[in-house]
């Protein structure tokens, strides 16, 4: 009964991992025979600061996305955590962006932010801010990209926070009210501490999710300008299909996998904490 599943797992999950490690020790361009080079690929990644640049770009995009979507998701959850049709409608609207493809969202925002005729650019121009070219400047591009990701994934954070809010017993909040706590006090001293495990969970899962971003980068910035949005997966893709350096791409994929493992460890830790409360 389990055999077909295990065969697929072995072929497409565990075997590729081993092969990735094997490739990473070789120089191979897919055309000529592979040549063993030891740890050279890893050394090359570290040497030119290439890996550091990629990690920095990934962190800029990811942290903007995670901080923004977590904060916004929490605020939205507090706002729509009520019965009624309007609140349900708002919940669905916000969450819909999470279901639509990254390609759709990327193209949509590329158009809205278009310097010449984009609606959002035009709107900001009218209000006196120059947003034209936020994606064209290396100082702003990773953050602009991060904000687009916020728009896409805030609904995910909102849904998880709603789950967290609904698991808080009403009696706890009522007791605080009876004790004379103000609304802000209740939020910061009762609701927020009780949401802490959900908060940890939302941030770690969003971090893992946004670390894997590729589609939106490929569609919106192609890693530029000046490599400012060359995030991990985009860089691996580039090494593989533009430079035909399978070994280098594999070495980077192995490093990426180890980082994801670390983040997952963080997630499990957060999950334990959620279970404990």
């Amino acid at each position: 009964m389990l055999a077909p599943t295990l065969v697929v797992l072995a072929t497409f999950y565990f075997y590729p991992l081993l092969v990735a490690v094997y490739y990473s020790l070789h120089a191979w361009d897919l055309l000529t025979p592979a040549r063993y080079v030891g740890l050279d690929n890893y050394r090359a990644l570290l040497a030119g600061g290439a890996l550091a640049d990629v990690l920095l770009a990934t962190l800029r995009v990811s942290l903007t996305a995670v901080l923004g979507s977590t904060l916004l998701g929490l605020l939205l959850a507090l706002a729509v955590n009520r019965p009624g049709r309007l609140a349900a409608f708002v919940r669905s609207s916000v969450f819909s962006a999470y279901v639509v493809s990254w390609v759709s969202v990327g193209l949509l925002w590329l158009w809205l932010l278009d310097a010449d005729a984009g609606a959002v650019s035009a709107l900001f121009r009218m209000l006196g801010f120059g947003t034209a070219g936020v994606l064209a400047r290396p100082e702003s591009a990773p953050y602009a990209l991060g904000l687009v990701v916020v728009w896409k994934v805030a609904g995910y954070a909102m849904v998880l926070f709603l789950g967290g809010l609904q698991s808080i017993p009403p009696s706890v909040v009522e007791a605080a009210t009876l004790d004379g706590a103000s609304r802000l006090d209740r939020f910061f001293h009762v609701t927020l501490p009780l949401l802490a495990p959900t908060l940890a969970f939302v941030t770690t899962t969003s971090l893992i999710l946004t670390f894997q971003a590729f589609d939106v980068v490929r569609v919106m910035t192609q890693g530029g300008p000046v490599r400012s949005t060359t995030v991990f997966v985009y860089s691996i893709y580039e090494q593989m299909f533009m430079d035909l350096r399978v070994g280098r791409a594999s070495a980077e994929a192995v490093v990426f996998f180890v980082i994801l493992l670390g983040l997952t460890g963080l997630e499990l830790w957060a999950f334990r904490r959620r279970g404990a409360v």
């Binding site: 797992l9 490739y23 759709s104 193209l107 949509l108 925002w109 010449d116 005729a117 849904v159 969970f201």
Partner: protein, 272 residues
């Protein structure tokens, strides 16, 4: 938390929030109905002077979009169906059968969540290239035949199915495969629908895997085509790009509107 009745400013505020998410979709549709001169002349005027479907016609003329829609549907349907077919026996074995190594097997299934496609694609591409299988549906579908989430959800749902029911089926002469494919599916309808929709939408949307595995129009999928609409030709013809984007996102939004609860069930389970 106790819900307070919504005040008028509160209601307006909430409506504005919805607008931040809905207005971009509306803009996408409106843009797709305009002409290029209109778009450039007045970036902020919402409505086209006359309703025209030229952009859609141009999108279909400039690339084999119908072919892409068909390819995407076949791929997404194939993956979703295969995942159900494999998750049923695997979930059954993990929930109801006693054998050595069950815990290890379950651990292996869950461990696949740690190995995303973004890590697997380099060696998998190498494998398929050696077998001359890039540019085939095999390369698009087979690597996703197993869904850890699917196996997990089927297993969870089966935990609450009483053993006595399965015992009764066995006494009536049902073999194990009959149980898996005849007796279980009717009991698991909500879970199976959730899974199918989740998987279909996920792979309908997927850009990364088809991008790295295909170069040939015969197997390329819709997200690739729509993204290409922007890259081709001189100057970006946004009305055509948005027409493509409507074709890409409308089915997903429709599924979401009709089956929001089912999708949410799978999405929240997929992360916890």
């Amino acid at each position: 938390m106790k819900a307070r009745p919504l005040s008028v400013p509160g209601g307006i505020g909430l409506s504005l929030v919805a607008l931040v998410w809905l207005a971009p979709y509306a803009w996408m549709v409106l843009t797709s109905l305009k002409s290029l001169p209109e778009i450039v002349a007045a970036p902020l005027s919402p409505f086209p002077s006359t309703l025209r479907l030229d952009a859609y016609r141009a999108a279909f003329q400039s690339m084999p979009l119908a072919r892409y829609v068909w390819n995407t549907s076949v791929m997404a349907f194939g993956i979703a169906a295969l995942q159900l077919l494999l998750a049923l026996p695997a979930g059954y074995a993990l929930a109801k059968l006693r054998f050595k190594g069950r815990g290890v097997a379950f651990g292996l299934v869950l461990a696949t969540l740690l190995v995303p496609a973004q890590v697997r694609f380099v060696p998998t591409f190498g494998l398929f290239a050696e077998l001359r299988l890039t540019n085939t549906f095999t390369a698009l579908v087979l690597p996703f035949a197993v869904s850890a989430l699917g196996t997990f959800l089927v297993r969870q749902a089966l935990m609450s199915v009483p053993d006595a029911l399965l015992e009764a089926a066995r006494i009536d002469g049902a073999g194990e495969w009959t149980i898996v494919y005849r007796i279980l599916p009717p009991l698991l309808v909500p879970t199976l629908i959730s899974l199918f929709l989740f998987s279909f939408v996920f792979h309908w949307n997927d850009y990364f895997w088809p991008l790295v595995m295909t170069t040939d129009d015969r197997v390329r999928t819709l997200p690739l085509g729509v993204a290409l609409l922007r890259e081709q030709g001189t100057g970006v013809r946004w009305h055509i790009v948005m027409a493509g984007n409507v074709i890409l996102s409308a089915p997903v939004l429709a599924i979401f509107a009709l089956a929001q609860k089912r999708l949410l069930h799978a999405i929240t389970a997929s992360t916890s």
